[in-house]
């Protein structure tokens, strides 16, 4: 497998960061950055990463299974994550979550048939003082409400 020149440069830099004999240190960040480009951790990705880091595919698999951001199936073009943890819950995070499910016609961890949107209820994303919070991909949206959620979805559709 080959990746974009930009990603290859990043991966080349990444593997140099760990001490001799500890190439495996690069595993988690490598998987996440590759997923960002490829869309999911496919069998090919597992093989490729195992080869590059001198690991067995099983050693890669067990790590993929552990981390919640690593996924086997691609998310939508806009991966919408709604936090309902305690600080968001207290400020209406559940209302935003219920609204998001209705508006996008998706349930937890589902992707729309056209691949535009996927939805996930997530745990604390570190936006407690600006709750309720939503993350789309890596972008934060603070102090959300059902109305603001609709505006956000419209904006994303036109992107």
């Amino acid at each position: 497998m080959t990746f974009s020149a930009e990603l290859e440069a990043r991966l080349a830099d990444m593997v140099k960061r760990y001490p001799p004999g500890h190439l495996r240190g690069a595993l988690v960040p490598m998987l996440l950055y590759i997923q960002d480009e490829v869309g999911a951790i496919t069998e090919d990705v597992v093989q490729e990463v195992a080869t590059r880091l001198q690991l067995t595919p099983l050693q890669v698999e067990e790590v993929v299974g552990y981390y919640s951001m690593l996924r086997r199936q691609p998310a939508g073009r806009h991966h919408v994550q709604v936090c309902t943890n305690i600080s968001c819950l207290l400020r209406g995070g559940e209302k935003v979550w219920d609204h998001a499910r209705r508006q996008l016609n998706l349930q937890h961890k589902e992707t729309s048939p056209d691949g535009q949107f996927s939805l996930e209820e997530v745990e604390c994303i570190g936006a407690c003082s600006w709750a309720p919070a939503v993350q789309v991909g890596y972008d934060y949206y603070h102090e959300m409400s059902p109305e603001k959620f609709d505006e956000l979805v419209e904006k994303l559709k036109n992107q």
């Binding site: 001490p19 595993l27 305690i86």
Partner: protein, 431 residues
């Protein structure tokens, strides 16, 4: 991004927030930036640095409150193995959103703090372990690290001193458990984030089997000011054995949620009323989670406390990670307990059976209870189950799940009884 400052704040760590291009090295250099490492390299021995941090009474800002200088002194001076600095930027404790601001608004302060720690223990490489969701912060940190290399504050022969230090970011990929120091180290080594048995502690056997100083972002960020102004000056900002200021994240039912830098020991009632502008919608206070969701909750009448590690411990709770969650009178505490437990059940790594099974069963019991299908004996069962998790796991996640649950059952038992016999939640829809 940060909220409007409050006049009661004592801005030490946040003093550069709001300056134009506050994340750039030029802004940093124009406002005391890298002066502390200059001083440390030119005028201080490594031992003197550690003494100064000890004198500052700086305690770990990740939650445990362990004295930072003492932790550094546990790193063996002579070591055949290399030593490492690890910055815990896996901020994930529900209610906590302060490290995000420190990295976004002033990344060089963190770099300088890590660099001073490296000098103190003679480490030559370090990692900033950032939770995967904080990608934009990794980009900010990478830019700042690049600037620091360019200007000679990282890399070989820093400021002509002969001291070398390399610093790298390292991305997590979604796991609360990796905020626990030993699980973080496993993750840094490319494995599943499961905790290690201790001793040995990371100061002796840490990253890659080598002696390691591992502290929270905010702890490292406090170090440059301590070196520049002296440990005693920092200690004087706080209370006995609780030096300095800390960032408190006010969230929940409060009029002015936000992150505020206040002296250690700042009274909680004033934090709620004056800094936070009081409970929202003119409602009464019901409870406060004083330091992130792992802490036992305080009832409104128990909140007349100075916010420092020892006072909170004496009150049967914890100062934790600075996440102060305000809960108003219209909140269902059974639902709060349930949501907190769902989180821990999701995040339990599964390594220790009491935590893995306990969080799952408590999640089921609380779900059933909140739906009105609980029985009187379930109330005690919930408490007993949680009690049985305490102290029986490799890492504190089991305790973190059990402690808030026990406190809610004990302090708000009547709310559990209100849900008995199929009764609809009396607080539903009040929001």
């Amino acid at each position: 991004m940060y909220n409007a400052p409050h006049p009661l704040e004592v801005r030490i760590l946040t003093r550069r927030f709001g300056l134009p291009n506050s994340a750039s090295i030029d802004t940093y250099l124009a406002h005391d930036g890298y002066k502390a490492i200059e001083k440390a390299l030119a005028e201080m021995t490594p031992d003197k640095i550690i003494e100064e941090v000890k004198a500052s009474a700086l305690r770990g800002r990740g939650g445990a409150g362990f004295p930072a200088g003492l932790k550094w002194s546990f790193v063996p001076r002579q070591s055949p193995k290399p030593k490492y600095i690890v910055v815990n930027a896996d901020e994930s404790e529900p209610g906590t959103c302060k490290d995000r601001l420190l990295m976004e608004n002033d990344p060089h302060q963190l770099i300088e703090g890590a660099l001073i720690a490296a000098r103190a223990v003679d480490a030559h490489a370090g990692y900033i372990y950032v939770r995967g969701e904080y990608r934009y912060l990794i980009d900010i940190l990478d830019r700042a690290i690049g600037e620091a290399y360019q200007r000679g504050y990282l890399g070989k022969n820093i400021l002509g001193s002969g001291f070398d230090f390399d610093l790298h970011t390292h991305s997590g990929a979604g796991a609360y458990e990796c905020g626990e120091e030993s699980a973080l180290l496993e993750s840094l080594e490319g494995k599943r984030g499961i905790p290690r048995i201790r001793p040995p502690f990371p100061a002796v056997v840490g990253a890659f089997g080598c002696p390691t100083v591992l502290n929270n972002v905010e702890t490292f960020c406090s170090v440059p000011w301590i070196i520049l102004n002296g440990g005693a000056a920092y200690a004087n900002l706080g209370t006995r054995k609780n030096g300095g200021t800390r960032l408190f994240c006010l969230s929940g039912h409060i009029n002015r949620p936000g992150v505020y830098e206040l002296p250690m020991g700042f009274p909680l009632p004033r934090m709620i009323e004056e800094v936070g502008g009081g409970v929202w919608k003119g409602r009464k206070l019901k409870a406060v989670i004083p330091g992130g969701s792992s802490c036992p909750v305080l009832k409104a009448e128990e909140t007349n406390l100075p916010m420092d590690f020892d006072s909170l411990q004496a009150a049967g709770s914890m100062l934790g990670s600075g996440g102060v969650v305000i809960i108003d009178e219209d909140t269902c505490m059974v639902k709060a307990a349930l949501r907190i437990m769902r989180f821990y059940a999701h995040e339990s790594c599964g390594w220790c059976i009491p935590c893995r099974e306990g969080t799952m069963w408590l999640g089921k019991l609380l779900t059933r209870f909140h739906a009105g299908a609980g029985t009187m004996s379930d109330i005690d069962l919930i408490r007993e189950l949680a009690q049985n998790m305490l102290g029986k796991t490799f890492c504190p996640l089991g305790d973190a799940a059990a402690l808030p649950t026990i406190s809610i059952v004990k302090k708000f038992r009547e709310e559990f009884e209100e849900h008995l016999n199929g009764r609809k939640c009396p607080h539903e829809g009040k929001g």
